[in-house]
């Protein structure tokens, strides 16, 4: 029986799609059978990030509305046999899918896969409700900015109110130099405010943009720092204790991160 993990954030553009692609690909490299589900209906782009755009025939709305069977809509990844994508519909809107339909779909995915990673749209409306409806676990992505943290906090509150308690946090786009100069929102503050378990810290990295454009997730790039962070996040999702990568940030903060990762 597999697990359905939703990747969410509240604020847009903080790295949900990037996280979904890298975490899913990371799990596939580890031999897991994985499906990535794009629920950002109307603004789909997980297919682009995965480099699979030109293979789309059916989409999630076709599946939930019974236009086609799940198997027909799943797109097999070009690198991994055991990695699939269920793309979002581009020409419909978020009300084309209901939370009940997502629950049914999630159940089906749970039976067929080890992991289903759901890419959630920004916001707290219908799209969010759909994305979390069938999930077993949640990952909350934020960047070190007050507005993103505020929205992440809102999302955590909503997750707690639904049955998805204990979400885990990814802080994305950390810039070590700005941390050193104290120009970024204090990371310790973020952790204090959100007060949830840390899943990982991903540095700002140009290779993410390059890899996005190439349709080749950074987690596959041995030379990418962000990719390294996602490799570690992947192992943590699977329950491993993994040391924090060297982020080139002050020692005090490193030890705070380590503590929140349950490392000593």
């Amino acid at each position: 029986m597999g697990e359905v993990i939703v990747v969410t954030s509240g604020k847009g553009g903080v790295g949900k799609t990037t996280t979904t692609a890298n975490l899913g690909t990371g799990l596939a490299t580890a031999g897991q059978k994985v499906v990535l589900v794009d629920t950002d209906i109307g603004l789909r782009n997980l297919d682009v990030v995965m480099g699979l755009e030109n293979r789309i025939v059916y989409d999630i709305v076709d599946v939930t509305s019974g236009n086609c069977r799940l198997r027909q809509a799943l797109i097999k990844d070009k690198r991994f046999e055991n990695l699939y994508l269920l793309p979002a519909a581009q020409t419909k809107d978020k009300t084309a899918v209901s939370p009940e339909q997502m629950k049914v779909l999630s159940e089906e995915l749970r039976n067929d896969f080890d992991y289903a990673i759901i890419d959630c749209p920004a916001g707290i409306e219908q799209g969010f409700k759909n994305a979390v409806a069938g999930a077993d676990r949640a990952v909350v992505v934020t960047t070190p900015e007050m507005s993103a943290v505020r929205d992440a906090d809102r999302i955590i509150g909503l997750l707690e109110a639904s049955e998805l308690s204990n979400p885990r946090l990814i802080i994305n786009r950390i810039r070590p130099l700005m941390v050193k100069h104290g120009d970024m929102m204090d990371m310790a503050d973020i952790l204090d405010i959100l007060a949830i378990e840390l899943l990982g810290v991903v540095p700002e990295d140009e290779s993410i943009i390059v890899s996005t454009n190439k349709g080749e997730p950074a987690v596959l790039d041995r030379g990418s720092k962000a990719g390294e962070a996602y490799r570690r996040i992947t192992r943590r999702i699977r329950g491993e204790q993994v040391a924090l990568m060297n982020l080139d940030i002050p020692d005090g903060l490193m030890s705070k991160f380590k503590k929140l990762l349950g490392l000593h």
Binding site: M146, D153, R154, I193
Partner: protein, 224 residues
């Protein structure tokens, strides 16, 4: 509800007790009681109460006036209590009043316990006091008629004494509100970062919102 300043009604295991402020003339007590009875006829009809006025004694005609007044509302005066009798596990029916056991630096009233952290987007509104057993994050707010106590860190918006009580206070383990209000007074967070100092309390003093550290000494002095 009528504002009662010199009388209080309390329900105890042994029945209802009416407290009269021993510091004021009987006429004041009688007038307030008349108003109270007029507004809560149904509640008290057929009840039997005992009265307490501390060490104060009333003249015979005053006592007769009291019995007559109660009688008009079908309330029976069942007797007078002695000072040593007025204690024990009881519920105050009119929380606005200060019963005799209440000393300087004590307050009571209905209270809402919030057993978790209030995250962004949450709003808690309550007539009485609010106690949060967690944090109040930025983007969350509490509006309370009474006091606000946050055991963790208060980073959101807090409005105590929202219905006008300038005696209300806001206290927190870490007081870092985005905005703090007491009655009609507003204070903003300072624009620069402040060092953590531990528990603090905000209240109005001489018409101004003041924040001070909650120290052991302070409690001792106010509870003495």
């Amino acid at each position: 509800m009528t504002r009662m300043e010199h009388i209080a009604l309390k329900g105890t295991r042994d029945g209802l007790i009416l407290y009269f402020d021993p510091g004021v003339e009987f006429s004041v007590v009688l007038e307030e009681l008349t108003r109270y009875l007029r507004e809560s006829t149904e509640f008290l009809r057929g009840a039997s109460v005992r009265c307490f006025a501390g060490e104060k004694g009333y003249a015979d005609e005053e006592l007769r006036a009291l019995t007559t007044l109660l009688g008009e509302y079908e309330v029976e005066l069942a007797g007078w209590l002695k000072p040593e009798e007025v204690y024990a596990g009881s519920v105050v029916l009119n929380p606005k009043e200060s019963p005799p056991w209440q000393e300087e630096g004590m307050a009571e009233g209905p209270c809402l316990f919030v057993d978790r952290t209030l995250r962004s987007g949450h709003s808690v509104q309550y007539e009485g006091h609010v106690v949060v057993l967690g944090d109040v994050n930025p983007g969350a707010e509490i509006v309370a008629g009474g006091n606000i106590v946050v055991l963790g860190t208060l980073r959101g918006v807090a409005h105590a004494g929202a219905t006008g009580d300038r005696g209300a206070s806001v206290s927190a383990g870490h007081l870092r509100p985005t905005q703090l209000r007491i009655a009609d007074r507003v204070a903003r967070a300072p624009d620069e970062e402040v060092e953590a100092v531990g528990p603090e309390i905000a209240r109005i003093k001489n018409g101004q919102l003041f924040v001070e550290r909650l120290t052991g000494t302070m409690w001792r002095s106010s509870l003495r």
